[in-house]
């Protein structure tokens, strides 16, 4: 076993940083070894913050061996990971043109369509890849993923069954099976699959995320939220915005129409609408809060998710209690504090566990502003003589802060404010 073989072993074991160091060392001796460049690229592709380097490495491999379809297919996968779906398609097409009988470039093309949210195309190219090589696990996994996202439950169930029969020791196959079970609403089955995926690959991020979702989905209210997410996943980003705006316009029309019939009914409708908005944004945080109650399940949470659970779940529990007591006993500071805490849960749910630095900055600032304003108003009400009203400046500032918290429900739909920038 040479140094290169040792590097390959480390790569196969998923010890990518160590493998990368060895590949660099081999390249220092053999600077024109294209296959080492392609291995280096694959190592970098699967590490965070190194996708751009991966693109450079595969570029070197292509420079030395421009006729190798595998390298163009790897380039396509890297471009997909960099959210450059159209360029990824071009690279996949180049690879397919060089060898139309190779399944890997076809699967890479399916992955590029994944990036573009074109699920029917993903299905089409996965089937083409599987017709050439029925053991191609990447195509098989992408196929089940695309079927699930298109809502083709029966076909998905068959595909998952076949996938597990063919690769019972493949962690990703169990992840796929877990998501299918979640979409069916079977959180126990999902949990079993995600646990198996983690047993096979304890460091799999997608399996851990799935396990967390299955824990959250133990509660019925979170399963409703998941159904909404699964429904929205079927559409591309633009269509998702269209649906959100459409629902909002429908709400406004409905509210105005109800106001003409009975203002009381309209008020109840508005209340329900706000509850729905809160539910959509707070469900993950409440889910994490419930997981925190479970001694075993909480071990799976990351620190950010724990904080989100405490800020959102804790904020809601204490906020609602304070509002109830404050309203019942007419204690204004308690009532105001409760409202502030409830309002803080929206930006807080978008702050903790958010992978976007920009997003964390914006939503974090709003959360801090809500906490600060709440504290200020509570102390002011506490210290001022009973019955006295808040001054206009405080009222205006409080209004702005509450508006900012409400605005977060719109800003939260901006992908770049919720997802990490891929580099």
């Amino acid at each position: 076993m040479s140094e290169l073989n040792h590097g390959i072993l480390l790569q196969d074991q998923g010890r990518l940083e160590e493998a990368e160091a060895i590949f660099y060392s081999v390249l220092a001796r053999e600077p024109e070894n294209d296959s080492v460049y392609s291995r280096l690229a694959l190592c970098q592709l699967n590490q965070s913050g190194k996708k751009q380097k991966a693109l450079e490495s595969i570029g070197e491999a292509i420079r030395f061996q421009p006729e190798a379809p595998f390298y163009h297919a790897v380039k396509s996968l890297i471009l997909s990971a960099l959210h450059k779906g159209k360029e990824a398609l071009e690279s996949a097409d180049t690879a397919i043109a060089l060898d139309p009988e190779d399944a890997f470039p076809l699967a890479a093309k399916a992955a590029a369509y994944c990036e573009l949210d074109q699920w029917a195309k993903v299905e089409e190219w996965c089937i083409k890849a599987l017709q050439i090589d029925s053991d191609n696990t990447m195509a098989a996994n992408l196929l089940t993923h695309s079927l699930r996202l298109q809502g083709k439950s029966d076909q998905n169930a068959i595909a998952v069954e076949q996938l597990l029969a063919a690769s019972p020791e493949d962690s990703f196959a169990h992840v796929n099976a877990g998501w299918s079970a979640l979409q069916r609403g079977d959180s126990r089955q999902a949990e079993t699959h995600f646990r198996e995926a983690l047993r096979l690959e304890p460091e799999s991020g997608s399996a851990r995320d799935g396990l967390i979702e299955s824990f959250r989905a133990r509660s019925w209210f979170y399963r409703i939220y998941l159904s909404y997410c699964f429904f929205m996943q079927r559409f591309t980003g633009g269509k998702q915005w269209g649906i959100i705006i459409g629902i909002y316009v429908a709400y406004q029309l409905m509210r105005r129409w109800l106001e003409t019939i009975n203002p009381m009914i309209a008020a109840v409708f508005v209340f329900l609408w706000l509850g729905l908005i809160l539910w959509v944004w707070l469900a993950p945080g409440i889910g994490n809060f419930l997981i925190l109650m479970d001694r075993s399940a909480r071990l799976a949470l990351r620190p950010g998710e724990r904080r989100q659970g405490l800020a959102v779940g804790g904020g809601l529990v204490f906020g609602i209690t304070a509002v109830a007591i404050g309203f019942g006993l007419s204690i204004d500071p308690l009532l105001t504090g409760g409202i502030g805490l409830i309002a803080s849960t929206v930006p807080a749910s978008l702050t903790f566990g958010n992978e976007s630095r920009k997003g964390r900055g914006i939503f974090g600032s709003v959360t801090v502003a809500v906490y600060a304003m709440t504290l200020f108003v509570v102390f002011k009400l506490w210290l001022d003589p009973p019955g006295s009203e808040l001054d206009q400046v405080t009222k205006t500032l409080s209004g702005f802060v509450l508006l900012a918290a409400l605005l977060c429900t719109w800003l939260g739909n901006v992908k770049s404010l919720r997802e990490a920038e891929v580099t």
Binding site: M1, H6, L9, E169, P202, L299
Partner: protein, 469 residues
């Protein structure tokens, strides 16, 4: 270049500052400005005529200019005058190698590493061996005794030591036959390892007591020897504790590196592994230590080449006491990634005892701090207080803290033109900038301990993390 300018500015304030001049000379050498370097080192010799470092660098410059014979003459003189200056012996070894004198190179190399073990270089040794500089059993260049070598700079070579006692060493002969060399005599025992009492007790229970009370353990169906796997985050003393274990049981210690086994020719690696085990069996009691054992005992599912698989099969067969007589051979393996080992290695008779080596505890960190500060201009050091702040830091992390603090002090020294000591405050500041590398390891280990711990192998990790499942 900026460094050279800063040094020159500092020297303008203090023109006779030898440490600064040495740094300037080194900087010129790094920048390939050989003439300027020569002038600087000459200037040092005009201030301090016997300065060994300046003389060494001048010899090196002469060699770079192609005047090797003159360089060797100067080094001979330096070696005669300063026989404990290890770097001079090492350079002499390189020059001898350049002249094609493998045996001579080997003699000088051995002297250098006997004086300062940290100078050891596998690459240089390999080149020397290729040039004929092998440790010989009965004639020619002789193996250098290791008894005065320590891990720390400042150890010395004992010129009165009788080299002849190694002349008939069958072990050295076997090594020569194998074309391999091992660290033979452990120069440590548990007294040399600060802190880590929990690990030591674990080793006593799982290794030492069974070996000391062989009959008693056999009466209970337990046996001495076998395999023990040490695992834990990198840089936390697995190798040191293995050496100390061998020292405790007074056995021959054979440290086997990955590079000593891996061979590009099919079948050669397996052959070497077998020979190493055979050698250990012949020389029992022996502690056979495999560092980075996860590469040699990798999970066969992760291996795509059959060549790798056969090596693993060979290793399994060697460890199996049924197919070979391993009495008195204790196999110690160290790894950062026990989860990548083939499960067959964890079965009874193989690595059936696991010992978790956690990051150094407070007394161990205090020891490391003292060692790191040794010989450096550190002022007002409170090792205990510093160690208290360094929870989860590995030995390598603590070294990084010292390096960073020393760099800061050097930068200050260059500005002021005088020696600026490293202070406790500076070390604490550096400690805040260096993140403990063990945390990343524990992130991975936690996942394996939570989700892939069906046999309870990683319960110690969970206990260390304070997790109750």
């Amino acid at each position: 270049m900026a460094d050279i300018e800063s040094l020159k500015q500092a020297l303008a304030v203090s023109p006779d500052n030898v440490p600064l001049l040495l740094m300037l000379g080194d900087a010129h050498m790094d920048a390939f400005s050989h003439e300027e370097a020569q002038t600087t080192f000459d200037q040092i010799l005009s201030i301090e005529p016997g300065n060994p470092m300046a003389r060494l660098q001048i010899a090196q410059l002469l060699d770079l200019k192609g005047r090797s014979s003159e360089a060797i003459l100067r080094l001979e003189q330096l070696n005669a005058e300063q026989p404990t200056f290890a770097s001079a012996w090492l350079l002499r070894a390189k020059l001898a190698l350049g002249e094609g004198d493998g045996k001579g190179a080997r003699e000088f190399y051995d002297r250098a590493i006997t004086l300062e073990a940290l100078l050891a270089s596998d690459e240089l040794l390999k080149r020397i061996r290729e040039a004929g500089g092998r440790r010989e059993s009965s004639s020619g260049s002789k193996p250098q005794p290791q008894r005065e070598a320590t891990n720390r700079a400042g150890a010395y070579y004992d010129p009165d030591f009788d080299d002849d006692e190694f002349d008939e060493d069958p072990f050295a002969a076997a090594e020569a036959e194998l074309e391999l060399e091992f660290d033979q005599r452990p120069n440590a025992d548990f007294t040399k390892v600060g802190g880590m009492e929990g690990v030591k007790e674990d080793i006593r229970m799982k290794i030492l007591y069974p070996m000391e009370n062989k009959e008693l353990f056999e009466a209970y169906g337990k046996k001495a020897g076998g395999g023990v796997l040490l695992y834990g985050p990198p840089g936390c003393g697995k190798t040191l504790i293995s050496r100390a274990t061998a020292g405790e049981i007074d056995a021959r210690f054979m440290s086997v590196g990955l590079h000593q086994i891996l061979d590009m020719w099919i079948g050669k690696s397996e052959e070497k592994l077998h020979e190493i085990f055979e050698l250990a069996r012949r020389q029992a009691p022996t502690v056979l230590f495999f560092d980075e054992v996860d590469a040699l005992a990798a999970d066969r599912k992760d291996m795509r080449t059959s060549a790798g698989r056969t090596l693993i099969n060979q290793f399994l067969s060697e460890m199996d006491s049924e197919s070979a007589e391993n009495d008195g051979v204790l196999v110690l393996g160290a790894t950062n990634a026990p989860w990548h080992l083939d499960s067959a290695f964890l079965r009874p008779g193989r690595f059936d005892r696991l010992i978790f080596v956690p990051p150094p505890d407070e007394p161990a960190r205090e020891e490391i701090v003292k060692i790191m500060a040794d010989g450096k201009p550190v002022f007002g050091l409170d090792p205990a207080a510093l160690a208290k702040r360094l929870k989860d830091f590995s030995g390598a992390d603590i070294k990084a803290i010292f390096d960073q603090a020393i760099e800061a002090a050097l930068s200050e020294a260059m500005k002021s033109g005088k020696i600026v000591p490293v202070t406790q405050k500076q070390l604490i500041k550096s400690a805040k900038q260096v993140k403990p590398s063990t945390r990343k390891w524990f992130e991975s280990a936690k996942n394996y301990a939570l989700y892939a711990n069906q046999s309870g192998f990683y319960d110690d990790v969970l206990e260390y993390l304070g997790i109750q499942k």
